[in-house]
């Protein structure tokens, strides 16, 4: 199918979900027909939209990272190594931030089953740090052992948006059991992130995300795996974008759905516009809050580089929550981890803007530490970056993305002049 300039729900999702993208508007296909009144409420009208400054000269960072994808979904099983009880908590694909609290709840619950007083957490990305805090909240003494502290982990190279089913599993291998587990994790996480709303420095926030197109968006997407074509079942690697699980519909009762925006309320002048409120995380303030809570509760951090599972069994703590992320591939020789590359560019912060958008496979999101930009493929969807463990950033691709969205804002300025 020629995707050309058309796009559907899945393209919006996939185009922007690369690292857990922002401008994906969950359920927007289902929301076709949302009334102008609700659209107006969502967008707040045109008068409050400040154009973003889109300039390669203000591109201050390009970050690349590898999502730890597993076809079966994240790993939460346990094993005993020597006299050490290990609870695995890794392989969250592009959903680590979003599922961090729900996943921590499950992992800590398993740790509690052996009645420890103190535990170790291996890894200090978003999954490890959150698990450590969850364990403290359950009354445990916690030491984190990790090579890097949060700001230098791969988690910080994500885009930090609520994208709980971004590259989290393949539908068929994961099965309905994982779907139910995912829903539990997503709801727990959502509830926990709610407790951070309205705080100073906005560690967790909402903003409007616009989905823009010059041509009619498709109202339906194909979602069938082609049984005759190569697939994960026949090759051991994802081969079709339709193999990737979509679970967002399971929680749409609590997630704002996007709505059509009437032409008079569309600040961008595109023929088609949808908008919806999206949750996202501000890296600096949120991670500072987490680290502060961890240390205030007596948490210890020890800089360690693990080379084999035996190193973990040698830890003083005999209950260990294992959160190595992509490093599980090397540390645990876990080849079920499939690398999925993604990258983001960051413009100088523009606090006067408070929204995101998706247009021509480019996502933008104004965050406290910069305006995040992703530029993804029109055709690949969730297959983009699959199997690619090259972690060097490609700045040129980001600059090309900037050129695609710049005209949107030039038009806005022209209209106001």
């Amino acid at each position: 199918m020629d995707r050309g300039s058309t796009f559907g729900r899945r393209d919006w999702l996939k185009g922007s979900l690369a690292l857990g993208g922002l401008a994906s508007l969950p359920g927007c296909a289902a929301s076709m027909g949302g009334g102008p009144a609700s659209a107006s409420a969502a967008t707040g009208g045109t008068s409050r939209i400040v154009p973003m400054r889109i300039s390669a000269n203000e591109l201050i960072d390009v970050k690349c990272c590898i999502r730890p994808f597993r076809a079966l979904g994240c790993r939460l099983d346990t094993e005993t190594i020597g006299d050490t009880f290990v609870i695995h908590n890794y392989g969250h694909g592009g959903s680590g931030w979003s599922l961090s609290w729900g996943s921590a709840e499950i992992a800590v619950g398993k740790a509690m089953s052996v009645l420890p007083k103190e535990i170790a957490v291996v890894g200090c990305g978003i999954v490890g740090l959150t698990a450590a805090i969850q364990a403290q909240r359950a009354g445990l003494k916690v030491t984190i052992y990790a090579r890097e502290m949060m700001p230098r982990t791969r988690s910080f190279r994500a885009n930090g948006s609520w994208t709980p089913s971004s590259r989290i599993a393949l539908t068929a291998p994961a099965g309905p059991g994982f779907a139910a587990l995912w829903e539990q994790m997503a709801r727990t996480s959502w509830k926990t992130f709610r407790t951070y709303l309205g705080m100073p420095e906005r560690p967790v926030d909402f903003s409007v995300s616009y989905g823009l197109s010059d041509t009619p968006p498709r109202s339906r997407e194909e979602h069938e795996v082609d049984p005759a074509a190569p697939s994960f079942a026949t090759t051991g690697m994802p081969q079709q974008k339709t193999e990737f699980a979509e679970y967002d519909h399971l929680i749409k009762d609590i997630i704002p759905q996007s709505v059509d925006v009437a032409a008079q309320d569309n600040p961008f002048g595109t023929a088609y516009c949808r908008a919806g409120e999206r949750m996202y995380f501000n890296f600096a303030s949120y991670s500072h809050l987490l680290l502060s809570e961890f240390f205030q509760q007596g948490g210890k951090f020890e800089n360690r580089d693990f080379h084999s599972p035996a190193d973990i069994a040698a830890l003083r703590e005999k209950v260990v929550i294992n959160c190595p992320g992509y490093a599980a591939r090397d540390l645990w020789r876990d080849k079920s981890i499939i690398p999925v590359r993604g990258q983001t560019g960051w413009l100088v912060p523009q606090p006067e803007t408070h929204y995101g958008l998706y247009y021509k496979n480019v996502s933008l999101l104004s965050k406290s530490d910069g305006v995040m930009i992703m530029h993804t493929s029109a055709e690949l969807g969730d297959m983009e970056g699959v199997g690619n463990s090259m972690e060097l950033p490609d700045r040129d691709s980001i600059v090309e993305g900037l050129a695609k969205v710049a005209p949107l804002f030039a038009r806005m300025k022209g209209a106001r002049a």
């Binding site: 970050k63 690349c64 090579r147 230098r152 190279r157 580089d305 080379h307 084999s308 591939r329 090397d330 020789r333 690619n388 463990s389 090259m390 972690e391 060097l392």
Partner: protein
């Protein structure tokens, strides 16, 4: 059995066990006792070959000077802390399985040994008369021991 052995067993956990294990390992493998990076376990020629391989396979991420970046680990300094006090085999196994990150496992064991030799040299370990073996069992018996710690 005999009284002397019983006495020895009693003392083992406190004094002699590590030495005994080392002695037994040495006897079984034929390695020199206490094979250590501090006593020259690679040759200069091998490290020079490793340097060339490094330029081609590693430098694009870790940098020409092994300094890494904010996101990519440095291969000196903290590297020494992270890997020393284990075995050279652990490092060799990691490099063999996980590197280069964009094509893990794509280098031959001999080339990985050359790169490890280069890393040892870059971290101040002395060279010696024998090249570093390209066999993880043998490398597991060589301790990665910082010179400065001695």
């Amino acid at each position: 059995m005999t009284r002397p052995r019983n006495m020895m067993l009693r003392a083992l956990p406190f004094v002699a066990l590590p030495a005994l294990v080392l002695a037994m390992t040495t006897a079984a493998t034929g390695q020199q006792p206490g094979a250590s990076t501090a006593r020259g376990v690679y040759t200069d020629a091998q490290a020079a070959e490793g340097a060339e391989l490094y330029k081609a396979a590693c430098a694009m991420c870790h940098g020409e000077n092994l300094m890494g970046t904010y996101d990519i680990p440095t291969l000196t300094g903290r590297f020494l802390r992270n890997w020393s006090n284990g075995s050279v085999g652990a490092l060799f196994t990691y490099v063999s399985d996980a590197m280069p990150q964009m094509a893990p496992g794509s280098l031959s064991p001999e080339d990985n040994a050359r790169i490890v030799a280069y890393l040892l040299k870059a971290n101040g370990m002395p060279s010696g008369a024998q090249p570093l073996p390209a066999d993880s069992a043998a490398l597991n018996r060589i301790s990665f021991e910082p010179v400065r710690a001695r």
